[in-house]
C-alpha cells in the first residue's frame, strides 16, 4: 500500500523534498496521519491542516491505499 505525500512551507526539511514535491510513502498495516508525522519526525504543532484527497482530515484518520496527503504548517500573517 502506498500514499502520495506533499508538504509545504518549512515542512520540506523533515521529509527531504522540495516545496510541494510529491513523494511516495509505503505503508504496512494501518497508519494514521499522526503516525505519518511521527515517521518523519514532524512535530504535530507544526501541522495546522492535513488534507487527504483535498478534504480536511483529523490526525487519527487511517490512511488508505493511494491517498493523496498534503500537510500545511501554521501561516497566518498579513
Amino acid at each position: 500500500m502506498h500514499i502520495e505525500l506533499r508538504v509545504y512551507t518549512g515542512l520540506e526539511k523533515y521529509v527531504g523534498v522540495r516545496h510541494g514535491e510529491m513523494t511516495t510513502v509505503a505503508i504496512d498495516g494501518t497508519l494514521t496521519i499522526a503516525d505519518l508525522l511521527h515517521r518523519f519526525d514532524i512535530p504535530p504543532a507544526e501541522v495546522t491542516s492535513a488534507l487527504v484527497n483535498g478534504r480536511h482530515k483529523e490526525l487519527d484518520y487511517r490512511l488508505q491505499d493511494k491517498d493523496r496527503v498534503s500537510l500545511f504548517p501554521p501561516v497566518g500573517g498579513g
Partner: protein
C-alpha cells in the same frame, strides 16, 4: 453613470483594452464595492490595485495605528504617518491615487458582533487580516451574507491565496479547521519579506476584479500556495467538507 468621461477613458485605457473588460466592464468596476479588512502588508497592495483599477467604493477596516516596524511592507503608509490610524493614512493615499474611488474607513477591529453588518455593505471581501480569529469571523460573516471572500496569509517568504464563494466551493474552515497553536511562530519571530504579502495581495486583487467582471477561472476548489525562497507556486485541490463547522451540513448559518 452610463458612460465613461473623457478623463476616465484615458485613466482606464489599459483596463478597457483587456479582453472582456471594455467600457462596460470599467463602468461595472466603478459601480462595485470591495471591503479590504486589514490595512497592513496584504491590505496595502490589495487596496492600491483595487483603487487604481477604479473600484467605485472601497472599504478599509483596521483598528490599528501606523508603527515604524510596519513600513518595510505596509506600503500605504509613509514615515510621516506613524501614530495615525491606518485607515486614515490609507484613505489619503488611495483618494490621491484615484479620486473616482470613494474610500470608506472603518476604524475598528472586525468582531463577531460587527462583521456581518460591515460585510453586507460590500460586493466582495478581501482577507488582509493577520490572525486566524479575525479570519474565522469574516469567513462566517461572508457565508451568512453570501459574499465572496478572498483569503490570503503569509509568513516569512511563503504565502497562500484561496477564493471562497459561499456554497460553490470550500470555505476557509473546510481547509483550516482550527487556529494555529498559541506556540506557532508569527511574522514577529520569523519575519516577512515585504514583497511576500505583495505577491499574495496582487493575486487577491486579480481575483476580486475577475469575480466582479465574471472573467476567467477563480481559485475556487484550489489553494494557491507559494514559497518565494524556492520561487515555487503550487496549486492544491481543496474540496468542501460536509463536516465543516461553518458551511457543512450541521452548520448554524
Amino acid at each position: 453613470m452610463s458612460t465613461l468621461s473623457p478623463l476616465q477613458e484615458k485613466r482606464y485605457h489599459r483596463n478597457t483594452q483587456l479582453p472582456g473588460v471594455g467600457d462596460e466592464g470599467q463602468l461595472k468596476l466603478l459601480q462595485s464595492s470591495v471591503l479590504v479588512v486589514g490595512a497592513g502588508g496584504l491590505g496595502s497592495p490589495a487596496a492600491y490595485y483595487l483603487a487604481a483599477a477604479g473600484i467605485g467604493r472601497l472599504g478599509i477596516a483596521d483598528g490599528d495605528v501606523v508603527e515604524l516596524s510596519n513600513l518595510q511592507r505596509q506600503i500605504l503608509h509613509f514615515t510621516a504617518d506613524i501614530g495615525r490610524p491606518k485607515v486614515m493614512s490609507a484613505a489619503d493615499k488611495l483618494v490621491a491615487l484615484n479620486p473616482d474611488c470613494h474610500v470608506v474607513t472603518h476604524h475598528c477591529a472586525v468582531t463577531a458582533e460587527n462583521a456581518a453588518d460591515m460585510v453586507s455593505q460590500y460586493d466582495l471581501v478581501i482577507d488582509a487580516t493577520d490572525n486566524f480569529p479575525s479570519r474565522f469571523v469574516l469567513n462566517k460573516a461572508c457565508l451568512v451574507t453570501n459574499k465572496p471572500f478572498i483569503h490570503a496569509a503569509v509568513l516569512s517568504m511563503a504565502g497562500r491565496v484561496m477564493t471562497i464563494l459561499p456554497n460553490q466551493g470550500p470555505c476557509l474552515r473546510c481547509v483550516f479547521r482550527e487556529p494555529p497553536a498559541p506556540s506557532a511562530k508569527t511574522t514577529f519571530e520569523l519575519g516577512v519579506l515585504g514583497a511576500t504579502p505583495g505577491l499574495a495581495a496582487c493575486i487577491q486583487a486579480s481575483e476580486a476584479i475577475k469575480y466582479l467582471l465574471g472573467l476567467g477561472d477563480l481559485l475556487v476548489n484550489r489553494l494557491l500556495i507559494f514559497d518565494a525562497l524556492a520561487m515555487s507556486f503550487e496549486v492544491v485541490e481543496v474540496l468542501r467538507d460536509t463536516d465543516c463547522p461553518d458551511c457543512g451540513s450541521g452548520a448554524q448559518i
